[in-house]
């Protein structure tokens, strides 16, 4: 296991470093500018009324002329740039095995070693989880640095942020599980990435659009994004236990299905 983890680390260290650096910079910048945005919110909403819908969709709440600073700070954890970095990390990491190994033909060499497919799958998942925890840690570090630079009492206590980050981690594990499932079923990494991105994008879109179209409320319940709701935590909702359980269950089920398929399927590189 240790040898496999070291191999995975060697192959993914730059992905982790780049994602950590990117999320750190994005969080520092967002943390510094969000208080200013919040101050100008009434003017902005009057000038650009469509912004009201955009922000409502993002935060998952009805926006009037103003939003409390604490709730508005949820933007930091749902901003599209933040999501793109985190999703990219998960999708790249979780399509490495078996899809990418089969695609580049190195799986023959890897599985020619005395390792079971299950162990390789487990070691990849462990490495991915450690890496995503590190990336989320850097997001928090960026936020803390931004807070000290902004010198504002705008933000809620770090305890509440940690609850959001735990919810975010479970969301990312669920996305990782879904991606692993597609990877387990593919011989081409491109297909696995394509399907994973399509599912995550569709999930986001349904969740976003369900704010205005009641017809999408039922389909939105199967969207993983529906179970990540930072504004709810910041509005004093406490621990989103139900959301966390659902995300953890999705992660476990999809990951286990992926593992089962990987260990049972035939592997063809030619």
């Amino acid at each position: 296991m240790c040898g496999l983890l070291l191999k995975t680390w060697r192959e993914t260290r730059w992905l982790t470093v780049i994602c950590c650096a990117a999320i750190l910079v994005v969080e520092v910048v967002l943390t510094c500018i969000v208080p200013r945005l919040q101050q100008n919110l009434p003017t902005m909403l009057n000038s650009f009324p469509f912004m009201r819908d955009m922000i409502s969709g993002l935060l998952g709440i009805k926006v009037r002329n103003t939003i409390s600073p604490a709730v508005f700070s949820a933007i930091l954890w749902i901003h599209p740039v933040v999501f793109v970095i985190l999703w990219a990390h998960q999708v790249i990491f979780h399509t490495r095995y078996p899809a990418a190994e089969i695609d580049r033909g190195t799986v023959d060499l890897l599985l020619g070693l005395p390792v079971s497919r299950g162990w390789v799958y487990l070691s990849e998942a462990l490495a991915a989880t450690m890496s995503v925890i590190l990336v989320i840690g850097f997001a928090l570090l960026g936020h803390v640095i931004g807070r000290s630079l902004a010198r504002s009492g705008f933000y809620p206590p770090v305890g509440q942020i940690l609850i959001i980050l735990l919810n975010l981690l479970l969301l990312l594990l669920a996305i990782g599980g879904i991606t692993s499932l597609f990877s387990a079923m593919s011989n081409r990494r491109g297909y696995a990435i394509g399907w994973a991105v399509a599912v995550v994008a569709a999930s986001s879109l349904v969740s976003f659009a369900a704010q205005w179209w009641p017809i999408l409320e039922t389909p939105a319940t199967v969207s993983v994004m529906e179970y990540y709701y930072p504004a709810g935590v910041l509005m004093g909702g406490g621990w989103p236990v139900r959301n966390m359980i659902v995300l953890a269950a999705v992660a476990m089920v999809t990951w286990s299905l992926g593992a089962s398929i990987t260990t049972r399927r035939s592997i063809c590189t030619v």
Partner: protein, 308 residues
Amino acid sequence: MRCKSAESSRTMNAPAIHCEQLTRRYGRRIGIEALNLDVPRGAIFGFLGPNGAGKTTTIRLLMGMLRPHGGRAEIFGDDCWRHSAAIKREVGYLPGDLRLYPYMTGRSALRCFGRIRGQDLQEQGSKLAEQFKLDLDVKVGRMSRGTRQKLGLVLAMAHRPKLLILDEPSNGLDPLMQRQLHDLLRQQANEGATVFFSSHTLSEVEQLCDRVAIVRQGRIVADDDLKSLRSKAPRRVTIVFEAQATHEPPAILRIEQREGLCWQCEWVGDAGPLIQWAARQPLRDLTINEPDLEVMFHRHYHAKGEAS
């Protein structure tokens, strides 16, 4: 306890490779069909066949990459699908279409694979690299195809496996390195290892093997030791007469061409009866060539209809 010792004695006495009615299909297309094969321990076993005959499919089934649709494959008495990981402790494998991690050097590959195997491969790997004249400090991405093949062979042999499974190992190697590879494989066999390799080059198999199986359209069409195959192979015979032959030639002498007093013929089996017949003929010259395996293999390759 008794059960365990019976199991261990079964695996101790089991052949290196045993396939029974092994079948694998790709949709409607047959990969291999009801293939039976036994490779004794310590043998150098050649697995011959044209492209698409089922050599790589058989090897991938042995390596646990493909799940059989019928029958079973065993290595040292253990099922290749169910005990794949455990089996590979004793197996060195070279894939036919070798792809190595491009960021690795030979040395880092030995380190990485050694860690996964829980074994230090550096010393033996360096010795093998020296024999193959391979620089272990060059990155795989910068290696030529032949050099990558050499590294693949080093990685397959560095842990001193009991069984080597090599899919067309001499692909991409120059004649000098091919000879080096043959010497190394003979050396491994002398030390007790079993070598199972696929090839479509008869001369390679002839030079190296104790035993050969020929696969065609997913079925074994011949499986015998080389000596026995040679005895079944046709010999080219040239007979030059002083005058017309006085007796009818033996029935098994197949005359391919008659040009005046010179006959080009084919003969299968012991040369004794042929020499006896020739002694009674007014001969000027008689040439009996070595058994020609090439002709036999070509007949197997191109035979029409279902294999026996």
